[in-house]
Amino acid sequence: MSVATLLEMVLAAVVLGLGVWTIAARQTYAATVGFVAYGLLVPLVWVRLDAVDVALTEAAIGGGLGGVLLLGAAAQLRATEMASAAEEPGRVVRLGAAALSVTISAALAAAILLLPDPAPTLAPAAVANASATGLANPVTNVLMAFRAMDTMLEKVVLLLAIVGVWSLASDRTWGGRPGPHHQADPHGALAFLARLLPPVGIVVGIYIFWTGADHPGGAFQGGAILAAMWLLVIMAGLTDTPPASSRRLRLLLIAGPGVFLVVGLGGLCFGLAFLAYPPTLAKPLILAVEVAMILTIAVTLGMLLAGVPERGAQQ
């Protein structure tokens, strides 16, 4: 057995153990910490599977922003956790949930185990047609050209998510600024980090976005880094969250799906089909869509984490 195989087995065991721990942990906070650790180890699994694009996304979303979101939720639940812990669900509910989970796990396992060997794949076709767009990264090709419809709908889902979060606001604070106004010592460690890190993070975020054309990376991973930088500055109290009623904010939120839709309709008018790029213009068009998308992703993820509007628009 090679060292690499041993490493993979240990990694798989730790990931599985963390998954069980996350489910079994009694306290919300402990489960969240387990999930964040899980979200940091799963990218290593993806790297071992040579899926670096997925690893980057998983690290940024699963371990990073998702972890922050869950930590915030756990902090808000702390007050009511003791009360809700006393309400044990009934035996029927628990048995039903267990049966459902086991069925789904068994179905997923069966689907994986029953795959023909070698599994059916479109990867050779995607690689063979890479020259059609002028991009060398096959993942970006699939996301932005071959299956662009899915990516566009994914951006619409992001928009729906933010609408869902905002709709939790009360009438009084509708259109207001999300989250509390963070106040930190302007000469403290957090404010120092919030001044020092964003220039680096913005460069790294844009680099990951730009290099996505030819190497692992892309708008989602880059956008997540930009969102993290924005949130850092907000948490250090150096700037405030924009009010949800801000027109500029709303334009940024719809920029990604909007530009995508316009380009798609352009393909319908001038080309062969919805989202069909003319071969000579494929790369500039994809780049335009991606620029709009990275802005939308960064702003959407930032506003999702900032949370429900809590302060009235007048404040």
Binding site: G188, A189, L190, L193, L197, V200
Partner: protein, 96 residues
């Protein structure tokens, strides 16, 4: 030449792994927040630093080497800031 470089790599990465191990043991065994932070910073600063130092001779180009060093610098920056913030929160909330 490459044999000497490999020796440097093995020595430095092993030393780094030792500091990670020591930091983890300290994190699990030390009694309160501040001493646990003290143990953790050894893993962050020295452990990561030594691993990066050990990997530098294996870096294919100057660019890769600079990337490795900047990973260490960013780790230092994040580790130091987070330690400060946790220590401040621990002092405010009393001994935990």
């Amino acid at each position: 030449m490459s044999f000497a470089l490999d020796i440097i790599t093995i020595a430095a990465v092993s030393a780094g792994a030792f500091f990670f191990l020591a930091g983890t043991v300290g994190l699990l065994r030390f009694p309160d927040t501040l001493t646990r932070l003290h143990a953790l910073t050894k893993a962050d600063n020295l452990g990561l630093g030594l691993v990066v130092l050990g990997l530098l001779p294996q870096a294919g180009s100057l660019r890769d080497g600079l990337k490795l060093v900047s990973i260490w610098l960013l780790g230092l920056l994040a580790g130091a800031t987070v330690s400060q913030l946790i220590a401040r929160a621990a002092r405010r909330d009393g001994p935990a």
